[in-house]
C-alpha cells in the first residue's frame, strides 16, 4: 500500500533521504492548474491538476499535437478525463490514487538530481527532472531502501490512466493511425 507513513518508515534508514524529504515537505511549488473548460472537478485537487499538467507531456511525448494551443487543449481534456475515469473506479482505488498524489508531491524531490535540490520551486518546470522522476519510479525494485514496489505500482497506474484518457479521445487518433470505429450505416445496403 502506498502510504506516506510507509514511505517515511522506509526512508528513515538514510539521513540524507530524511534531509531531502524535509526540504520537499517544506517547499516544492506545485505548478498552477490549467483552466477547467467548465468541468466541475470532483476528485482532482488544484494541486493534482497542476502536477498532471507537467507529467502528461512527458508521459505522452511525441503523441501530443505539436502546436502549443492544441497540446494545451489536449492536456486539459486529459485532466478532465482523469477526473471522470477515477470517479468510476471503486472507492478503495480512489483512496489509493489520492495517496498516490500525496506521495508524488512529497517524493518528487527525492528523485531529483542533487544539483537541483536547491532549485526546488522550478523542478516541476523541468521535463528532464520529470523524466528522471518517472524513470526512478518505473524501475523501482521491491528491495529499494526508500520505496519498494509501491512506486512501480504508482507509476503503472499514473501512466495507464493518462494514456487511457488520451487514446480514448478521438483527438489522439491521428497520432496512432486509428481511423475510429466503422460506421454501422455504411454496412446497411
Amino acid at each position: 500500500m502506498l502510504t506516506r507513513r510507509s514511505l517515511l518508515k522506509k526512508s528513515a534508514v538514510s539521513g540524507v533521504t530524511i534531509l531531502a524529504f524535509e526540504t520537499c515537505l517544506a517547499s516544492p511549488t506545485i505548478p498552477p492548474a490549467p483552466e477547467d473548460l467548465g468541468h466541475h472537478f470532483e476528485f482532482l485537487s488544484l494541486q493534482d491538476r497542476g502536477i498532471l499538467s507537467k507529467l502528461i507531456p512527458v508521459i505522452l511525448a511525441d503523441s501530443l499535437p505539436s502546436s502549443l494551443d492544441e497540446a494545451e487543449l489536449s492536456i486539459k481534456e486529459i485532466i478532465i478525463g482523469w477526473d471522470i475515469a477515477v470517479l468510476g473506479l471503486p472507492i478503495l482505488t480512489q483512496t489509493e490514487l489520492k495517496r498516490l498524489f500525496e506521495v508524488m508531491k512529497s517524493n518528487f524531490i527525492l528523485s531529483m538530481t542533487p544539483r537541483l535540490i536547491t532549485g526546488v520551486p522550478s523542478a516541476w518546470e523541468d521535463p528532464s527532472e520529470i523524466e528522471n522522476f518517472l524513470n526512478k519510479w518505473r524501475k523501482s525494485e521491491p528491495d529499494n531502501f526508500i520505496t519498494g514496489n509501491e512506486l512501480r505500482v504508482g507509476y503503472m497506474g499514473l501512466v495507464e490512466i493518462t494514456v487511457a484518457c488520451w487514446y480514448g479521445n478521438p483527438r489522439s487518433w491521428e497520432f496512432c493511425g486509428y481511423y475510429g470505429p466503422i460506421n454501422l450505416n455504411s454496412l446497411i445496403p
Binding site: 478503495l92 494514456v163 493511425g177 486509428y178
Partner: protein, 536 residues
C-alpha cells in the same frame, strides 16, 4: 435524402418495452422482500444459461446482476465508454500485488457480453484430469459431449469462414513456417460483420451472448432481471438458506449504496464467476459455507504474457474478428515434459487497449503507438492448476467487503512464461516481423531473432516486470466428491447447504487450458437440467 432503414435492431431493448420484467436497483427506493422459486446471482455464461433452463420448466426465476443493463444501441464501439461501463472495476481489476491485470465483464450478459466469442470444448486432457486426479464424477469426454453439442446449438457456435485479419494471419504464417500446428477458432456469432469490436459490446447483435439469447429466453417465460444490485450475503437457518441480501449499486455503479433488499427463494444459484461467487460465500460469514477453509482457494487465471511485433505491412489489428486462430502446440508437446503448457492466440488492437497495456512511457511508448497500424501482438495463456506447484490464487475480502485476489505465480509457471516469450518472438520473426518487443519492464525493441533470444533468456521473470494479464478467472468453489477438498459436488450442489448451487466457472478444479466460455455453458447446462429435474 431517403432515410435509410436501420438494419441492426436492438430487439433486447424492444423486449423490455414490451414488458419483460426488469428492475434497475440503483433507481429503486423501496426495500420490499422479493419471492422466487430460484434466485440466480450473475447473468453471464453460467447465470444466463441456468436462468433459461429453469424458467422453461416453469420455475419463477430472479436474476441478480451487479452490472448495468446495456443493449446493442449502447454499444458504440467507443473504448472510452465501454471499459468503464461493461467491465469490473473499469477494466482495472488487479491481483493484490498489482502483478496481473484482470479483465472481467460486468454487465447483463457478464463475460459473454464483452468476450471475443472464442469457443472451445473443454479439452479431453482437462476432463480426464478432473476425473482421475480431482475426484469429479460424470465428466468424462463421452458424458460431456452431448452437453457440448447442446450448447453449440443454443449459442450457434460454429466454424468461422472468413479469412483471419492480418493480426491473426501472422500467427498462422509464423506457425506454418516453423512447422507448428495451429487451427481456426469456432465462434458464437450469427451474421457477424467482422467489425472487430467484440470487446466493447456487439453493436449488431451478432454475438450470441446470454444478453441476447438465454436471458431473453428466461424473461419470455416470466423471469425477472434485477440489474445494478450486488448479492451481499446469505442468511441461513437450520442449515438452509432463507434469504439473499442484495445491495443496490449507486447510480454511477462503482459502489454499493446503503440501500438493500432481500430475496427469499427455494433454491439459490451462485453464478457470479471466479472471484464473485466465492466472495458471496465469504461475506456470508457462516462456517457451514466454508467448513474446510477452501472457498476462494485454487483460483486460476490462465496468466497471459504478450509479445509485440512491428510488421513490414499494415496490420490494423483493431478491425476484423479479433480472435480467429490459435495454436495448442505448446500445450500438447509439453504435457509429458512436466512443463507449464500454453495456448497461443491474438488480441484485438484498439488504441486504448494497446496503450494501457504497453510498458513504459514517453518516447518508447509514443514510438510504438505511432507505428500501431503495423503492430502485431501475440498472447500466451498458461494452463495453470495441473501441477503440484501451480496451486492458483486465493480470494479475500477487502475492508469494504469487495473481493480481491492473491495470486503468486509459481516458478513452474514463470518458466512457461519465459518459454512463451521465446516462442512468440520466433513466430513473429518467422512471419516477417521487422522487430519484436516482449511486454516486460526491462525489454527493448529487438531487430533480430538472435538479439531477442539473448535478451529474453536474461529478462527477470518477476511480478511487475513481466506484464501479466488474465481474461479467464476460474475456480474458487471447486467441485468434487470429497467435501474436504471441494465446495460443491459433481452436480454443482454445495456439500453442506442443500438449497445452494454454484453453476459457473468457479467450480472448475483447475483452469481449462482453453477459453472457458463453452465449458461454463456446458457445465451449467448439465447442472441446471439436473436441478430442474429435482425441483422443477
Amino acid at each position: 435524402m431517403v432515410k435509410s432503414k436501420k438494419k441492426f435492431i436492438d430487439y433486447v431493448s424492444k423486449g423490455f418495452e414490451k414488458g419483460w420484467k426488469h428492475i434497475d436497483a440503483s433507481l429503486v427506493t423501496s426495500d420490499e422482500t422479493l419471492e422466487a422459486d430460484v434466485v440466480i446471482v450473475g447473468s453471464g455464461a453460467g447465470g444466463g444459461n441456468t436462468a433459461e433452463i429453469l424458467a422453461q420448466v416453469g420455475l419463477y426465476v430472479i436474476i441478480v446482476e451487479e452490472g448495468p443493463l446495456k443493449t446493442s444501441n449502447d454499444f458504440r464501439m467507443k473504448e472510452d465508454e465501454a471499459y468503464s461501463m461493461l467491465y469490473q472495476e473499469s477494466a482495472s481489476r488487479q491481483t493484490r500485488d498489482r502483478g496481473i491485470k484482470i479483465f472481467q465483464g460486468r454487465m447483463v450478459g457478464g463475460g459473454t457480453g464483452v468476450n471475443w466469442t472464442t469457443s472451445f470444448r473443454t479439452p479431453e486432457t482437462t476432463l480426464n484430469f478432473w476425473v482421475d486426479q480431482m475426484g469429479v464424477k460424470g465428466f468424462s469426454e463421452s458424458e460431456m459431449s452431448p452437453w457440448f453439442e447442446w450448447v453449440e446449438k443454443r449459442y450457434k457456435i460454429q466454424s468461422w469462414s472468413l479469412p483471419s485479419n492480418a493480426n491473426n494471419s501472422v500467427l498462422e504464417t509464423g506457425c506454418t513456417r516453423l512447422g507448428i500446428g495451429w487451427g481456426k477458432i469456432k465462434r458464437n456469432v450469427v451474421g457477424c460483420q467482422n467489425l472487430g469490436y467484440c470487446g466493447t459490446g456487439c453493436p449488431t447483435n451478432a454475438k450470441q451472448s446470454t444478453l441476447i439469447t438465454t436471458i431473453p429466453g428466461a424473461l419470455k417465460e416470466g423471469a425477472m432481471l434485477i440489474s445494478k444490485a450486488r448479492a451481499e450475503n446469505f442468511e441461513i437457518k437450520n442449515g438452509r438458506i432463507i434469504s439473499l441480501k442484495c445491495l443496490s449499486m449507486t447510480k454511477r455503479g462503482n459502489a454499493p449504496s446503503k440501500k438493500f433488499f432481500k430475496i427469499r427463494a427455494k433454491h439459490y444459484v451462485l453464478a457470479a464467476g471466479g472471484i464473485g461467487s466465492p466472495a458471496v460465500l465469504l461475506r456470508s460469514k457462516n462456517k457451514i459455507f466454508n467448513p474446510y477453509g477452501i472457498v476462494g482457494k485454487r483460483t486460476f487465471l490462465h496468466p497471459v504474457n504478450l509479445s509485440g511485433a512491428i510488421m513490414p505491412f499494415e496490420v490494423f489489428g483493431e478491425y476484423g474478428a479479433p480472435q480467429t486462430s490459435f495454436s495448442d502446440h505448446y500445450i500438447d508437446t509439453r504435457l509429458d515434459l512436466n512443463k507449464s503448457g500454453f495456448k497461443l492466440e491474438c488480441p484485438p488492437l484498439q488504441p486504448m487497449l494497446v496503450a494501457t497495456n504497453l510498458e513504459g512511457h514517453g518516447k518508447f511508448h509514443s514510438e510504438i503507438m505511432r507505428k500501431r497500424p503495423f503492430l502485431q501482438v501475440l498472447i500466451a495463456l498458461q494452463r495453470d492448476g495441473f501441477h503440484p506447484e501451480s496451486i492458483g490464487g486465493s480470494v479475500f475480502l477487502k475492508k469494504d467487503g469487495s473481493p480481491g485476489l492473491d495470486y503468486t505465480v509459481s516458478s513452474y509457471v514463470w518458466d512457461g512464461i519465459r518459454d512463451a516469450f521465446h516462442v512468440m518472438a520466433d513466430i513473429q520473426f518467422a512471419a516477417g516481423a521487422k522487430s519484436v518487443s516482449p511486454v516486460h519492464r526491462d525489454a527493448a525493441i529487438y531487430k533480430s531473432p538472435k538479439k531477442a533470444k539473448e535478451a529474453i533468456s536474461s529478462l527477470p521473470m518477476e511480478i511487475l516486470k513481466a506484464r501479466l494479464f488474465s481474461a479467464h478467472v476460474m475456480g474458487g468453489c471447486p467441485m468434487g466428491e470429497d467435501p474436504e477438498k471441494s465446495v460443491v459436488n459433481s452436480e454443482g450442489t454445495h456439500h453442506e447447504v442443500e438449497n445452494l448451487s454454484v453453476f459457473d466457472g468457479s467450480v472448475f478444479p483447475t483452469s481449462i487450458g482453453a477459453n472457458p466460455m463453452e465449458s461454463i455453458f456446458a457445465i451449467s447446462a448439465k447442472f441446471s437440467q439436473e436441478l430442474a429435474k429435482k425441483i422443477g
